[in-house]
């Protein structure tokens, strides 16, 4: 359980000034930072206010409008006692969900802050706890053991910061709150930066199982990522060329390069398919650029764990983005697509067991925007989008101005380049997994390559024949159909 929390003095001072100058009666927002359950410590990097919702309403308000009475001393206090805080919990949770996508490497939404009077806070603890819970669910941590979040209360008269730790139990009561030791200090300026460029290449065979069990592209990828997360868990790591041992502190400064060492071929994805017929292979490959920020009190192994978590989170976020997008599309297009249902199914929802043609789904690329004290936050850009989207997100979600100079934004990942046009099933199925992304598609082993070509040639011939046969059948049925029609008329 987190007992001591340190807030970054520079950022929190700024936040406090912002709040006191804004003259708002109440404000709710997200607490960004790191929680370390092994050290029982929390580190607060920044506070981000939740923006107004789609209806233009602020996310939190006081139930009765006594705002004018704010300055009227004793009377104001009396009315405030009877009023309660109304929080748009779903909206705050949605904000947390979207912000958490932009955070990386151990930096997370670790709770909420609230700017209200003491009495209002006391009246609304249950509601606040529920908001914390909603935020925790929307921006969940990968580590299941961390079942707590922070609730920071900034009261304006008198000006005071209190930090409570909220246990995420099934039914939250005010007893779930415990006050922690809170102080301001150097947090952001003492962070160590770790970077990893992770390459992966998963080959997921699609078996012919019971046809009723439809497996969409999205489902298969979801499973594939979860399976890969387990594999990544076992990985060892080198930082700046030396193997990481447990519980060692990070002694040197500067940017640290992390290299992940995975067990040699421990690919369990094909396991369930042994001696089964396969309908095809789903190749999921590419790179994830990842950062992690380590507090000087944390051991180096924490940075490695954060990097591993970040890689999986990034893959999941991107899959969510791709799926969300197409969800939106399909609801919009309902009226239009009635004519040709099959071809308009968005790619992530294609049932792979029925699909007889190649298809590809490009994931958005990750870009990095400068944030506080030399750290970065990330965002994702779809092939159709530009950096403008990133700037919008920064303003809307993180309430920061994105740099006007585009060169400040790091873009280490190139746009995904589908390989569908180059290969065929036999090209990718001969290696059910590959170590080098370089041996695909231009394998350096000539013999194997030659063999593969032969195989693919054969399959291509077969495919041609199949399409011709299908076309003939179609033509025939049209002819027969029209004959019958004309006969009937």
């Amino acid at each position: 359980m987190v007992k001591a929390v340190v807030g970054d003095e520079t950022q929190l001072k700024l936040a406090e000034d912002r709040l006191s100058q804004s003259a708002v009666y109440s404000q709710v927002g997200l607490v960004i930072g790191k929680l370390n359950s092994r050290l029982d410590r929390g580190f607060v990097f920044d506070l981000i206010p939740t923006p107004v919702n789609d209806g233009g309403e602020p996310p939190c308000s006081v139930a009765e409008s006594f705002r004018d009475d704010k300055k009227k001393g004793s009377k104001g206090k009396a009315t405030a006692d009877s009023s309660i805080l109304v929080i748009d919990k779903d909206w705050v949770a949605e904000h947390a969900r979207q912000v958490s996508r932009m955070l990386m490497g151990g930096v997370k939404v670790i709770g909420i802050y609230i700017w209200v009077t003491d009495s209002l806070f006391k009246n609304s603890t249950i509601s606040l706890c529920q908001t914390v819970k909603g935020v925790a669910e929307a921006a969940s941590f990968m580590e299941a053991d961390l079942d707590e979040r922070l609730l920071i209360h900034i009261s304006y008269s008198p000006r005071r910061w209190t930090c409570r730790n909220c246990m995420l139990t099934a039914n939250i009561t005010s007893s779930s709150l415990r006050t922690c030791d809170f102080k301001m200090g150097r947090v952001l300026s003492s962070l160590q930066t770790f970077r990893c460029m992770y390459n992966f290449d998963l080959r997921l065979p699609i078996c012919h199982e019971n046809a009723s069990n439809a497996r969409t592209l999205g489902n298969v990828l979801q499973h594939g990522i979860s399976a890969h997360a387990k594999e990544l868990d076992d990985a060892k790591a080198m930082v700046d060329g030396t193997l990481v041992a447990e519980d060692e502190p990070c002694t040197s400064d500067g940017l640290h390069e992390v290299e992940l060492l995975l067990p040699f071929i421990k690919d369990a994805s094909a396991q369930g398919c042994n001696r089964k017929d396969v309908g095809g292979v789903l190749v999921f490959h590419g790179s994830v650029c990842s950062f992690a920020y380590l507090n000087s009190k944390e051991p180096i192994s924490q940075a490695v764990a954060d990097i591993k978590g970040d890689i999986i989170t990034s893959l999941r976020s991107r899959l969510d983005i791709v799926c969300d997008e197409t969800d939106g599309d399909s609801t919009l297009d309902v009226g239009i697509e009635a004519t040709n249902v099959m071809s308009n199914v968005p790619t992530p929802h294609l049932n792979l067991q029925e699909l007889r043609k190649t298809c590809s789904l490009s994931f958005p690329r990750r870009v990095f925007v400068p944030w506080l004290a030399g750290t970065y936050i990330c965002d994702y850009i779809q092939p159709s989008e530009t950096l403008e989207v990133v700037k919008e997100h920064c303003v809307e979600l993180m309430s920061i101005e994105a740099p006007t100079d585009a060169s400040m934004i790091l873009q280490p990942e190139r746009e995904a380049a589908p390989l569908v046009s180059i290969g065929s099933f036999w090209d990718v199925a001969v290696f059910s997994h590959s170590a080098s992304s370089s041996d695909f598609p231009s394998a350096n082993n000539n013999k194997i390559n030659a063999d593969r070509k032969e195989i693919s040639k054969k399959s291509i011939k077969k495919a041609d024949f199949n399409t011709i046969a299908a076309l003939l059948a179609l033509l025939l049925s049209i002819l027969v159909g029209s004959l019958l029609y004309f006969n009937g008329s």
Partner: protein, 655 residues
């Protein structure tokens, strides 16, 4: 590497004596090591596969296949020995050298990854057993020289293990591969490609080798940190014989030039037994570096490739386990590139060959084991097929021929899976758990004072047994269970010698099996009836298939006369003997017999002991001690007015 041949023509033979069977005609491969001076023979392997009707013409391909699996990397073929009646010395030596040249080409390739070496041709007279050694200085047999002196090492274990260590690499992986159902492309070809791609991956730029010391205990030792080698650090073209050995332990500050001794403990005494258990073992693991250069990064893509013809997946599971020997002064990176990686490739290749014929039916379950059989100076590796039981004829045949090849006795199971070397801490833990269940004393006679027979020849039980006695496991058998306890001790011997894997039976189970064979009525089960030597022989036959010899004497006074026969039993069979008869039952563990004077003593393990399993108490109480037929006070141990039956279990002739 120094080459003493140039200075003096002397050969060093490390194996105690070259295993020769009288009148045996045949060829043996001589094994050396690239880390030893060129003319040092470590062991010999008998050539088993020969051309039909020609004992001296090996079937090279088959032999190479076998030796490749058997021989650890770090040892190599350095010559051959021909044993013949009335040998023509030089001619036979040339034949032997020619044979070894051909064999080396098959094993190590044309260029010879081990480089040119002096090859030894040895000729033995199968009648007299006399061996002559010749050496060829070049890679042909045209000019050979004889050795003037042969040096047999007294402490060969010391020689091998003081300067060397073991490296081990365990690698399990699953290899899925797809093939068209209609076999339009041969699945075997696809499978071959798949294994070749794995072999290529051993040297792939993404592969990283992690080298660390094998942890033998659960508690983390404060030891040397693991060392990482990237494939780009490794040199795959360097000839092992050209690698410079570095005596400097740390080879400078660079981790890349560390030698094996970095992981080896300082000056550990080398005991002649269990050398592998004390030897330093370095563990090597293969990892894939998944981190790349930032320049090559592209965002993830998912692409679906449907199979346009019916395709099927087959997943093959491989378990590679390679053990290598290296001089402690060998730089670690060469140990990886010249020993571990070729070892992995060899093992995968031979497994691939074994799997190919059964590719689409039931896959064989191949598993490598390492053994260190007594008398063989170095460990060996054997790949067993686990689909069949160990006692299956096919497996027995495999073990038999291995015993012959290594010159091991054919009536001792030395190469069963239970005999295999255990490395991982988990395996050790498991065996200690079992031991916790039966905290029985083993081999209580070891360390006893001598019997007092002057000039006697001691013949003892061979191998370990557990001491069973009255009241053990809270079971009250005082007064009737001594023969049962003696039987339990005998069965424990068979268990510990790996002739059987059955548990030592309880009293009830012993009674049950006697009822089952019809020797006793069902009411016998649960009774407190005595059993004798004859019943013991029935049970041994029923449970273990062991035959027994019985010696009857009408009086205890006749027992000393049987001493010569008993001594012979301990020499040849080495099993514990049960003494039964008119009165008490004992277990006999050995005799001390002076043929000249007829003086003798019997090493008696007494099952009538009722105390706790405390070795001191047992020894001081004389529950395991030498008993003279007539002691110094004139008392006789065996009663003159009682008869005795001696049950001599015969060692099964099995491997």
């Amino acid at each position: 590497m120094d080459n003493p041949v140039k200075e003096k023509t002397s050969i060093r033979v490390l194996c105690r004596n070259i295993v020769l069977i009288k009148n045996e005609v045949g060829l043996q491969w001589l094994i050396g090591s690239p880390f030893f001076p060129a003319v040092t023979i470590v062991s010999t392997f008998r050539c088993l596969h020969t051309l039909p009707s020609k004992v001296l013409s090996p079937n090279y391909l088959q032999e190479a296949e076998d030796l490749r699996t058997l021989l650890l990397r770090g040892f190599c073929l350095i010559g051959a020995l021909i044993a013949e009646k009335n040998p023509r010395l030089e001619e036979n030596a040339r034949d032997a050298i020619d044979a070894s040249i051909r064999m080396r080409k098959l094993l190590y390739g044309d260029g010879g990854e081990l480089g040119c070496q002096n090859l030894i041709g040895a000729v033995a007279d199968s009648d007299s057993g006399k061996v002559c050694f010749y050496v060829s200085r070049s890679e042909d047999s045209t000019s050979i020289e004889t050795f003037t002196s042969v040096f047999y090492d007294d402490q060969p274990e010391k020689y091998v293990w003081e300067n060397g260590c073991l490296l081990r690499c365990e690698l399990g992986f699953k290899l899925p591969f797809c093939f068209p159902v209609n076999h339009s492309t041969d699945p075997k070809e696809i499978f071959k490609c798949a294994t070749e791609s794995i072999i290529a991956k051993f040297k792939d730029s993404q592969v990283v080798y992690m080298v660390e010391i094998l942890k033998r205990t659960q508690t983390p030792e404060k030891g040397s940190r693991p060392v990482i080698f990237r494939c780009s650090d490794l040199d795959f073209h360097r000839n092992l014989s050209k690698v410079e050995l570095l005596s400097d332990k740390f080879g400078g500050s660079d981790a890349k030039s560390l030698t094996c001794s970095y992981f080896c403990s300082e000056s550990k005494p080398v005991s002649s037994y269990n050398f592998v258990e004390t030897a330093d073992i370095i563990e090597v693991s293969l990892l894939l570096n998944r981190s790349g250069k930032p320049q090559t990064a592209t965002a993830p893509t998912a692409e679906y490739f449907p199979a346009l013809e019916e395709a099927r997946v087959s997943v093959l599971e491989f378990k590679l386990d390679v053990l290598c020997y290296a001089a402690k002064d060998l730089p670690l990176k060469y140990a990886v590139s010249s020993l571990i990686i070729p070892g992995l490739i060899d093992q995968l290749t031979s497994m691939k060959k074994a799997v190919l014929p059964h590719l689409l039916v039931q896959h064989p379950q191949l598993c490598p084991y390492h053994f260190s059989p007594p008398g063989v100076l170095h460990p060996i590796t054997v790949i067993y097929e686990l689909r069949y039981g160990e006692t299956e004829m096919k497996q027995v045949e495999v073990r038999r021929s291995l015993h012959i090849r290594l010159g091991l006795p054919l009536n001792r199971p030395l190469l069963r899976t239970v005999n295999a070397l255990k490395f991982s801490t988990l395996e050790n833990d498991r065996s200690s758990l079992i031991r916790k269940g039966s905290p029985l004393l083993k081999d209580v006679h070891i360390g006893l004072p001598s019997s007092g027979v002057s000039g006697g020849l001691v013949s003892l039980v061979q191998g370990s047994y557990e001491y069973y006695h009255y009241l053990q496991d809270g079971f009250d058998d005082s007064g009737w269970g001594c023969a049962y306890r003696s039987l339990q001790t005998i069965i424990s011997w068979f268990r510990l010698q790996h002739y059987t894997s059955i548990d030592v039976p309880s009293h009830r189970e012993i009674q049950h099996s006697l009822v089952e064979i019809g020797d006793k009525d069902p009411s016998f089960i649960g009774s407190r009836e005595w059993i004798g030597a004859i019943e013991l022989s029935f049970v041994l036959d029923k449970l273990l298939g062991v035959n027994c010899k019985v010696i009857n004497v009408r009086s205890g006074a006749e027992l000393p006369e049987k001493c010569r026969e008993l001594a012979l039993h301990f020499e040849n069979q080495g099993t514990p003997i049960m003494i039964g008869g008119g009165v008490l039952a004992y277990t006999l563990l050995g005799v001390d017999y002076d043929e000249a004077s007829g003086d003798c003593a019997f090493l008696i393990l007494d099952p009538h002991y009722t105390g706790s399993d405390d070795l001191k108490k047992i020894i001081n109480g004389g529950w395991c001690s030498w008993k003279k037929a007539v002691d110094s006070k004139g008392k006789t141990f065996f009663l003159n007015d009682k008869f005795y039956n001696l049950l001599l279990p015969q060692r099964p002739s099995m491997v």
